[in-house]
């Protein structure tokens, strides 16, 4: 795979076209008193994978349901393929995997796929669907006798069986083990390589990082950050320095480039945009620095920082 050579700005899939296939324009949605989404704007371009990332209750599922035409927005506009998501033609080009409590349990895997395939004009062959969803050999098993992970895979199979151009996957890997998750990721990558567009929601940060061209971080119904996975990581705290020091915490805070300092047991944890200059300065000011460790802040930290910041606007973060 030549695409693995790292050219700046060219993750596989970055080749996105300008065509917008799904769009939320200033959309607000309330469920009674609960404000599920507040003035959310989101574009999904043909051929890209967008991950909507956020904690439980952030509004991820609501965004998907709006784009599927299952709920109506209180404010703003929802469009899919330039039209109403409820249009029959749009639905024939769309596949969806939603979180479901229970599916008719007495029908077999093959029967469920057969029925959903019949809704679409150009469905995939049964064997291909079974293989892509990892359900080979289980096709005669009733839904009720599948394991949790297998049930999840059947829902994925129903989303892809119609060979749709646009896929909505709401928490696709919830309840899957590590192995099954990898298999599903590979399958999603294969779909994208065939030109499909994918919008997925997840609270697994690793998943967004592994799959998405673009991550949209959502919290309490509003988008709080948006960009490539590396943008998101860069936006909050490039790297993390951990060391013991004889300096008071205020003195460390005053070093240029330090974003945040907290003490953790007998050491300080320093978040810094430019770790090298901070370390250089730190070593000059304090000859007794011990146990120095520099790590890159993962998406996990970035995400926590972003969402926590939303709760505590007065926190001491200073991002340019």
């Amino acid at each position: 795979m030549i695409a693995e050579i790292h050219i700046p700005q060219s993750r596989p899939g970055k080749r996105r076209s300008e065509a917008v296939v799904a769009r939320l324009t200033n959309v607000s949605k309330n469920y009674g008193e609960i404000r599920a989404l507040r003035r959310v704007a989101l574009d999904v371009h043909a051929g890209e994978v967008v991950a909507v990332l956020g904690p439980n209750g952030a509004g991820k599922t609501t965004a998907v349901k709006l784009l599927l035409g299952l709920v109506a927005a209180n404010w703003g506009r929802v469009s899919v393929f330039g039209g109403d998501p409820r249009n029959a033609e749009n639905r024939m080009r769309t596949g969806a995997m939603l979180q479901v409590g229970r599916v008719p349990e007495t029908l077999r895997v093959r029967e469920h796929i057969d029925l959903f395939s019949s809704y679409y004009p150009n469905p995939l062959p049964m064997a291909e669907v079974l293989q892509a969803s990892g359900l080979q050999g289980l096709d005669k098993r009733p839904f009720g006798e599948l394991s949790g992970g297998q049930k999840q895979r059947l829902l994925f199979a129903l989303a892809i069986c119609g060979n749709p151009d646009l896929l909505f996957l709401d928490e696709p890997t919830v309840g899957l083990d590590v192995e099954a998750r990898r298999v599903l990721w590979d399958e999603i990558r294969r779909l994208v390589a065939r030109g499909k567009t994918v919008l997925l929601t997840t609270h697994y940060l690793q998943e967004a990082d592994a799959l998405a061209d673009r991550i949209v971080v959502i919290n309490q119904g509003a988008i709080i950050a948006e960009g490539t996975p590396s943008d998101i990581k860069a936006r909050t705290a490039g790297r993390q320095i951990r060391c013991g020091s004889s300096l008071p915490i205020a003195a460390i805070c005053s070093i240029p480039g330090v974003l945040e300092v907290r003490s953790d047991r007998d050491a300080f944890v320093i978040r810094a945009a430019d770790a090298e200059s901070v370390v250089r300065e730190l070593l000059i000011r304090d000859p007794y620095v011990s146990g120095l460790e520099v790590t890159s802040a993962g998406l996990e930290e970035a995400f926590l920082a972003l969402t926590q910041d939303n709760h505590q606007p007065e926190a001491s973060r200073r991002v340019s």
Binding site: A46, T62, G101, R102, V103, T106, L115, L155, A193
Partner: protein, 269 residues
């Protein structure tokens, strides 16, 4: 990695009539198969009316007459009504409440399934179970109860009960559009059993207390029961009026269901 995003021009896809019909057929086939394999539905909805009929129509009241006809014939009509009502209320009402409450209906709605196919499949499934129940009762009555039917009478009784059962599908739709998946079976039983009793489906209406006899015409099963009894020669009232009552009740239920679905669209997550 040279894949080009495919963006088909919109409105390129139109479903042909034969494709649409094929979807309806498949939807119905799998709805029926799913129910057939669910013993709590298929066994109980068929066995209860059959059991009651054998007990009260064939064994305990052997040789008696009600309303001028053999009790075995009379009770084919009443337990037939009881049976089609149960098949419809449980099949439609409980089935819909489950699929609505547990998210499956949303998966279907998000798919390109023609929305009406979902409901049509359920109606046909319920009608099929209704037909099975009525045919079983008639067969038992003819074989063991000394009941005589001409072919036309048998067909008319079957058609009356199966067509009339649609009214209870509408009632199931109304219940299923409001009830939660756990409460639906209880709600259905609370309506089904008292209504059956008060409509004279268990004990002939002539033998019920006077105030219940006056109250019965308020209940839709009474009207379907009288229509079925009319076929075996023991009906009261004018058939057209019974049909009108059933249609009116069905329309009322459709209105209630509409409110339920609108509520869903606004409120649920």
């Amino acid at each position: 990695m040279s894949a080009v995003p495919t963006t088909l021009p919109s409105a390129a896809i139109q479903r042909s009539l034969s494709h649409t019909l094929a979807i309806y057929a498949k939807e119905t086939k799998y709805d029926f198969l799913g129910r057939l394999r669910l013993p709590v539905y298929s066994i109980s909805t068929v066995m209860f009316p059959v059991m009651f009929y054998v007990l009260f129509g064939l064994l305990l009241n052997r040789g008696h007459e009600v309303g001028g006809v053999n009790v075995a014939a009379y009770m084919i009509a009443t337990y037939g009504t009881f049976g089609v009502m149960g098949a419809s209320l449980f099949g439609f009402g409980v089935g819909l409440a489950m699929e609505r409450g547990l998210g499956w209906l949303q998966v279907k709605r998000a798919s390109p399934m023609p929305p009406f196919a979902y409901f049509a499949a359920k109606v046909v499934t319920c009608m099929a179970f209704s037909a099975i129940i009525v045919v079983l009762l008639m067969t038992l009555g003819v074989l063991f109860g000394g009941v005589h039917f001409s072919g036309a009478e048998a067909l008319k009784l079957l058609a009356t009960l199966v067509v009339g059962s649609v009214c209870f599908c509408a009632m199931g739709l109304a219940i299923g559009s409001f009830a939660g998946p756990n409460s639906a079976p209880a709600i259905v039983n609370l309506l089904y059993l008292p209504m059956s009793f008060a409509s004279g489906l268990w004990i002939p209406i002539e033998l019920l207390p006077k105030f219940l006899q006056r109250f019965a015409p308020m209940l839709p099963p009474f009207h379907l029961g009288q229509l079925a009894l009319g076929v075996v020669g023991a009906g009261q009232g004018v058939p057209l009026q019974h049909w009108e009552a059933l249609i009116g009740f069905a329309l009322l239920c459709l209105g209630i269901a509409r409110i339920g679905f609108q509520r869903d669209e606004r409120a649920s997550g």
